[in-house]
């Protein structure tokens, strides 16, 4: 395999040369990031082998985790891949979060369930290349050929004599060796770490309350800053009176910053650029002063309401001409000729991300430097924005990434980092900016609101012959036109409608899929019912069609893998077996290159449906860390059920009606089902896992609720929205 970026010869040489001239980086490993073997001695020196790996004289190995950690557990999984190829005992490994460094690393982003997918090869090469150099150094010392040096658990073994050296013994010599161009990677069958259950490297720190998160970061001499943004989308500041606030104890200043950008990039989403800033000594003093500021706001664009949103979406689907995204065959003729036609509409509201850790960031801007520390999914994009705003070069702006108390997409958009920077520039001091929960929930960047209408036609043999989807979103259509059931049906049409808004929106865990999967899989269930077929058999027939004789050429899924997860969940859940009192629903979906099928079991307790268990089959290729993978799957399922059942963000005159958790319902412990996850075992390159278990569970849930209650659930959140047909077609 060839070296790629972050692994190229220039970088290798750079760090190697530094090591060769005797650079050792002192580091207190006791403050490192993993529960390492406490019996090992404290290392005296470290040698950089490459951008990902440094080795201590005593054999400890530090592996840098390049990407931001939002709870998706890549801080364990990414170093684990390096350690696998390096052949080091995991107990000897210390994991450190890398800072933003685009010369050393590729794509330091947490988003799109891409971290493992995009870095798999590079991480393996980092480990394998380092191992090769360590073996070569040992071969030189033993005066044997490299082929006679074996490795195991961080030790080098002389195949002839059985002599052993530790990685630490040859690290300095290895670092000055030429970098191999082409290294052999392990066979999947030889993996020792990958595919096992490995615990979170930050686990000990989390359970003892160590400072890990952005909100925990403090700097001597810092001031605390909080913001007031307009109370409604469409409003801007008219005037404000801060005299009383300024006179309060511990308050430094109250002023306005403007964060608007001349050329915003995609990650600069922000509806509120004009902000009142309160700075002071302690969080509570600033919080109190924030309430004492009197501000007047005026509407500059229309103030939107949720009932208008609903009406606009309805109009979009029922009356507007959509953009045709895909068309196969002749949909109108096929529907006219169909023996049965089923037509249903599904909706979902805006949602807030509500990461448990509210937005915050630390910034210290001086005339020639900007230093940022905090929770950000897109540090490189944030750096770009800061460079533009401050007129600085890349090497003048540093960003250190803290562990994040949740991301879910919200921290792709770094407005809070820009805000902290501008405040620090203005006050000339280090600044820690903190949002209250209310600031966080009402700030925007929401999951869009959606509506989709499906129409399906069955022939007299109950085969699907026509499928039409028209989907509208505020602001963008949620449809993926080349996904299932496209490719399985001769006559297909997908249309999208985009509706403008002044409410800011952004990616929210499994964007678009988080709505469209549930709608599609509920509808398929209803079509299967109309066909008189079992819902799993009905889907499998469609996949058979796509496997044997696909319609069109752009279908972006592998129908055999899709069918594979359905078959697996069917077997594991004993689908078809009689379970008294249990109502079951099924769904399958493909996103982030992974395939998920689920069965949801609902029981009635005191006349209320209760989700008892979710069975989940996943095909995400090679599973790197089973423990973390199952945790992600469970989290996605609970997230999906929770938002589909309970959560919504509604608007009155441009103002979010939910500001904190007494108004915005999130799923609670008592509402959580049992979950069992199963993996399709294969040797395929790993694919996404942070998002794919969320979307389909909404469909499986709706289908199970229907079996339990006799009501079809079309509108989210299921426990609050009306489900009657008349509001859907008005």
């Amino acid at each position: 395999m060839k070296l790629n970026k972050g692994m190229n010869r220039r970088n290798f040489l750079k760090v190697s040369a530094a090591s060769g001239t005797g650079l050792v980086i002192g580091f207190n490993w006791l403050a490192g990031c993993t529960p390492t073997n406490p019996e090992m001695s404290v290392p005296k020196s470290w040698t950089d082998i490459n951008a990902y790996i440094k080795v201590a004289d005593n054999g400890l190995v530090t592996i840098f985790s390049p990407n931001p950690e939002i709870g998706q557990n890549i801080k364990t999984a990414m170093p684990l891949i390096v350690a696998e190829e390096l052949d080091v005992d995991w107990k000897k490994v210390i994991v450190e979060q890398a800072d933003l460094n685009t010369i050393k690393y590729n794509r330091q982003v947490a988003g799109g369930s891409q971290s493992i997918r995009a870095s798999w090869d590079g991480l393996r090469q980092a480990g394998a290349t380092a191992k090769h150099m360590l073996r070569q150094a040992a071969a030189n010392q033993w005066k044997i050929d490299i082929s006679e040096v074996n490795t195991e658990g961080g030790e080098l073994i002389n195949a002839k004599t059985g002599d052993k050296l530790d990685y630490g013994d040859v690290a300095v010599a290895a670092a000055s060796l030429p970098i191999p161009e082409d290294v052999k990677l392990k066979d999947v069958k030889d993996f020792k770490l990958i595919g096992t259950h490995v615990k979170n490297v930050d686990g000990e720190k989390i359970i003892t309350g160590q400072p890990l998160f952005g909100i925990d970061y403090n700097r001597e001499g810092q001031v605390i800053a909080m913001l007031i943004h307009a109370p409604a989308f469409g409003m801007k500041l008219k005037s404000y009176d801060a005299e009383a606030a300024k006179a309060m104890p511990g308050v430094d200043d109250v002023f306005v910053v403007d964060t608007s950008l001349e050329e915003p990039q995609w990650s600069d989403v922000n509806a509120f650029n004009e902000l009142i800033v309160i700075t002071g000594q302690t969080t509570w003093q600033v919080m109190k002063a924030k309430k004492a500021v009197n501000a007047e706001w005026e509407a500059v664009t229309p103030l939107e309401n949720s009932d208008e949103h609903f009406a606009k979406l309805l109009d979009g689907v029922e009356r507007q001409k959509g953009r045709v995204l895909r068309e196969d065959g002749n949909i109108d003729a096929a529907l006219q000729g169909a023996a049965k036609v089923v037509e249903k509409t599904y909706t979902a509201p805006f949602l807030a991300h509500n990461t448990m850790e509210p937005m915050n960031f630390f910034a210290h801007v001086t005339p020639d430097k900007a230093e940022l520390v905090g929770p950000i999914q897109t540090p490189e994009s944030l750096r770009g924005t800061i460079m533009k705003v401050l007129g600085m070069n890349e090497d003048q702006v540093t960003i250190a990434m803290t562990r994040m108390g949740g991301g879910f997409g919200r921290r792709l958009y770094g407005n809070f980092g820009l805000e902290a920077t501008l405040i620090s520039k203005k006050v000339g001091k280090p600044v820690k900016l903190i949002y209250t929960r209310e600031d966080d929930m009402t700030q925007g960047t929401y999951r869009p609101a959606y509506r989709v209408k499906y129409t399906a036609g069955l022939d007299e043999n109950n085969n699907l012959v026509a499928f039409k989807a028209k989907a509208a979103g505020i602001p963008g259509s949620p449809l993926f036109p080349d996904r299932f059931p496209a490719g399985t049906v001769d006559n297909y049409k997908g249309e999208g409608v985009n509706i403008d808004t002044n409410i800011s929106t952004g990616a929210w865990r499994a964007p678009r899929s988080n709505f469209i999967a549930g709608a599609e899989q509920s509808f398929i269930d209803e079509v299967a019912e109309a066909s008189g077929k079992d819902p799993i058999d009905f889907r499998l027939e469609l996949f058979d069609r796509a496997i044997n004789n696909p319609v069109g050429e752009n279908n972006d899924y592998d129908a055999a893998r899709y069918a594979g997860v359905l078959k697996l969940v069917k077997e594991k859940a004993n689908w078809g077996q009689d379970m008294p009192g249990v109502s079951r629903g099924v769904a399958a979906y493909y996103c982030h290159n992974s395939y998920v099928a689920q069965v949801v079991d609902v029981v009635m307790k005191n006349n209320e449906p209760v989700v008892q268990k979710v069975w989940c089959a996943v095909d995400c290729g090679i599973v790197v860390n089973k423990e973390g993978a199952i945790n992600q799957i469970e989290g996605g399922i609970i997230d999906g059920i929770g938002h589909a059942m309970y959560s919504q963000l509604t608007f009155k005159d441009g103002k979010p009606e939910q500001e904190n958790f007494h108004q915005y319902d999130l799923i609670r412990n008592v509402q959580t089902p049992e979950i069992e996850a199963f993996f399709v075992e294969n040797d395929i390159h790993p694919t996404g896992l942070g998002e794919p278990s969320l979307p389909p569970v909404i469909g499986a849930l709706a289908n199970a609720l229907y079996k339990a209650t006799g009501t079809r659930f079309y509108n989210q959140p299921f426990t609050k929205a009306k489900q009657a047909d008349e509001i859907l077609v008005g």
């Binding site: 557990n73 979170n200 003892t208 562990r403 108390g405 949740g406 997230d639 999130l666 008592v670 959580t672």
Partner: protein, 152 residues
């Protein structure tokens, strides 16, 4: 401002703050104990849970003036080396995802198990329902509490 003498994690601590300052911010801003987390500020999420005389309380909604000489324990003081049975069970079940809610979850679970050492599954889920985990680690939390209850 007023001077308060607190008993936090077995140590006497003196702070000079406004009497209405919530314990959450006293801990985080004045005592450098940042393990206790800010989630909502209105007693709705449990991220700020600490012990006061062995009871789980919401530090975001408890002003320092109400604390007096109560024994305050935070996540940092729950055990000397992270070896409280609840903490050990948390590691065994690899509970955290992002980890942000977990200090509050652990503090709530520890106080609950002290009062009810052998809880049923229903008792666990209802006792833990005041603590939000946005990442959805609830099933692991419940399994860990069951493990801890067997050990303690």
């Amino acid at each position: 401002m007023a001077v308060f003498n607190l008993n936090v994690n077995g140590k006497k601590r003196k702070v000079d703050v406004d009497p209405d300052t919530p314990m959450l911010w006293v801990l985080r801003d004045h005592l450098n104990l940042v393990g206790t987390k800010f989630g909502c500020g209105i007693a709705q999420c449990g991220a700020c849970t600490i012990h006061a005389d062995g009871n789980a309380i919401r530090s975001c909604s408890t002003p320092i003036s109400a604390v007096g000489d109560m024994e305050i324990v935070t996540i940092e003081g729950l055990s000397p080396n992270g070896n409280h049975p609840v903490q050990e069970a948390w590691i065994e079940h690899d509970v955290p995802q992002c980890g942000y809610c977990q200090a509050g979850q652990i503090m709530n679970a520890a106080a609950f198990l002290k009062k009810n050492p052998n809880p049923s599954k229903e008792e666990i889920t209802s006792a833990m329902s005041g603590n939000i985990c946005r990442c959805g680690t609830y099933t692991r939390i419940n399994a860990a509490i069951q493990t801890a209850s067997k050990k303690s």
